[in-house]
Amino acid sequence: MIQVKNLYVDLGDFQLQDINLTVDEGEYFIVLGPTGAGKTVLLESIAGLYPVKSGQIWLRGKEVTSLEPEKRNISIVYQDHVLFPHLSAAENILFGLKIHRRPKQELVKVLDWLSDLLGIAHIMDRSPDTLSGGERQKVALARALSTKPEVLLLDEPLSALDPETREGVQKELRQLHNQLKVTTIHVTHDFEEAIALGDHIAVLGEGCIKQVGTPEQIFHQPNSEFVAHFAMARNIFTGEVVERDDGSTVFRTEDTELEVVTDLRGKLHASVRPEDILISPEPLRSTARNSFCGTITHIADRGSTLYLTVNLPPDFICLVTRRSCEEMRLTKGQKVYITFKASAVHIF
């Protein structure tokens, strides 16, 4: 368990103030914030790599605020990996154990374990500058895990990867965490990444923590404009991707089932952009696979466009033009049908 109490960090241009976080043992904790919010510095402060102006950091019930970083047993993986360029992949991974003068057979064992775990046995002798982004990422992860840290800090681990690799690595991070249960703090600016991975999420912005909660709390009950800005752009749901008997793939939430196009399976999240949803007074017979009946519970006027909240349940936010709304005489309390294509549902 790691606790950050009233942390105050000076970044020169601005400050991080009154940072309070509690991360439970074995938890996957996400710090979500825009670029330049001081997320990396927050991680470095926790690791003892950046001077703290005031406040305390507690690790498993002990105060470590002024402890040397090498005595904390907290590992960090930077966004751009920062591998030791003069050492091979294997030497990078074993650096920590060699520093601790562990016996040879332990080195071999740990290296075997990590290269199996991450599937990197074939690149062990290569130099970091010959590795791809995804491979460097895995070596950096293996290096961080080699010392069996109490806390693993991940600094935007997915943002340096291209979109194709990202989805796979995100899945692997989840699996890795399920297997190892190492307490993890992961910082990111990507809302969907935060939702997909986090047990709890802290939203960092304007130098302080705006909100802490479960993914559901963050996207259903944003406590400020700042947090809402992250959450508002999409309809986000928690549920499970399953195959139905008829061979179709659906995303099943508590209340409803959405037809989707995806190769992913299991407990996941889904989002639908408000502008991809069609509203009609009668059900539509069309190529769109998802069509539901619901009630308009709220209309938010944005000038030439309007945001309708349609409750099925759950709530869907839909974007329509003012002309459509007037022509179809949409009013609060009215029953309407919402329709969107299976390919408009994003699973993550």
């Binding site: 470095e44 690791a47 003892g48 790599l49 040397e68 970083p69 090498e70 904390r72 047993n73 907290i74 590992s75 960090i76 930077y78 920062v82 030791f84 360029p85 003069h86 650096f95 920590g96 520093i99 601790h100 290096r143 961080a144 080699s146 010392t147 840290p149």
Partner: protein, 264 residues
């Protein structure tokens, strides 16, 4: 039709002519002196024990100065590369002062501080070190004029090492010393060695500061100067050629080793 707009205009031709003058001015004297030497006389000079001893002394004293420069200059370079503090610009400026101070005057200043009648001189005398007319004097003269090369080069080398590499090593359990010796030094090694080679070469080439502190034992430059003063150009030339050859060959070999190290 092949055309290179940037190479055939009259400006580049003029520049090649002007640049050629200064290039020839640099290489012709050295080349001509080496080429014009009678190999037999050169061989005789190379067997002259006085010449051998003085060249050996020069290389040796410069090497000691370089080792001291390494031990004291590298830590300072690391501090300057890593930390900011008020007055850092001033410190960096002062470190480069030996390059711009006239070497004769620098020699006088060193003698004033380290000479037999000075406080430091007397203190060192107690532990058996005398800086006047001694190898110790030659070493500190060389050290003074050449240390900026080591500090500046090592500093640039350390600056190129991502500080986060040290930070990562710390999280993996390395103490500051381990981070320094296992990460910073190996990664800055080429710059440090390059600085050491420059420092050594600069030490060998020093004359003014050396003769103020230690005319004897004679370094190669002093020997050549004395022969020039006493017997004239023709007698001084073979020793000068020999010294130039030793310097250039050592320098080329060291640079090649350095570049080979870069590739592997």
């Amino acid at each position: 039709m092949v055309k290179k707009w940037f190479a055939t205009n009259n400006m580049t031709i003029t520049f090649i002519l002007l640049g050629g003058i200064i290039f020839l001015f640099i290489i012709v004297p050295l080349l001509k002196m080496i080429v014009a030497s009678d190999p037999k006389i050169l061989l005789d000079t190379a067997l002259d024990s006085e010449v051998i001893n003085s060249i050996g002394l020069t290389l040796y004293a410069a090497l000691i100065a370089t080792v001291i420069g390494f031990l004291l200059g590298v830590p300072l370079a690391y501090l300057l590369a890593r930390f900011d503090f008020p007055g850092k610009n001033l410190v960096e400026g002062l470190i480069d002062v030996p390059i711009v101070v006239p070497h004769i005057a620098a020699g006088i200043a060193l003698l004033f501080v380290f000479g037999r009648s000075s406080l430091a001189g007397k203190a060192f005398n107690l532990i058996g070190i005398d800086f006047f007319d001694s190898i110790a004097g030659i070493v500190i003269a060389m050290l003074f004029v050449s240390i900026p090369f080591m500090i500046d080069s090592a500093k640039e080398g350390f600056k190129k090492v991502d500080v986060r590499l040290e930070k990562v090593s710390r999280t993996l359990g390395a103490s500051p010393w381990q981070a320094f010796f296992k990460i910073s030094i190996p990664l800055a090694w080429r710059s440090i060695v390059a600085g050491g080679v420059m420092m050594w070469a600069r030490g060998i080439s020093e004359f003014a500061a050396v003769i103020i502190l230690a005319y004897h034992p004679m370094v190669a430059s002093t020997l050549i100067y004395e022969r020039f003063e006493t017997y004239g150009l023709d007698y001084a030339r073979p020793a000068a050629v020999l010294l130039i050859l030793v310097c250039l060959i050592s320098f080329i070999v060291l640079r090649l080793l350095l570049y080979r190290g870069q590739k592997t």
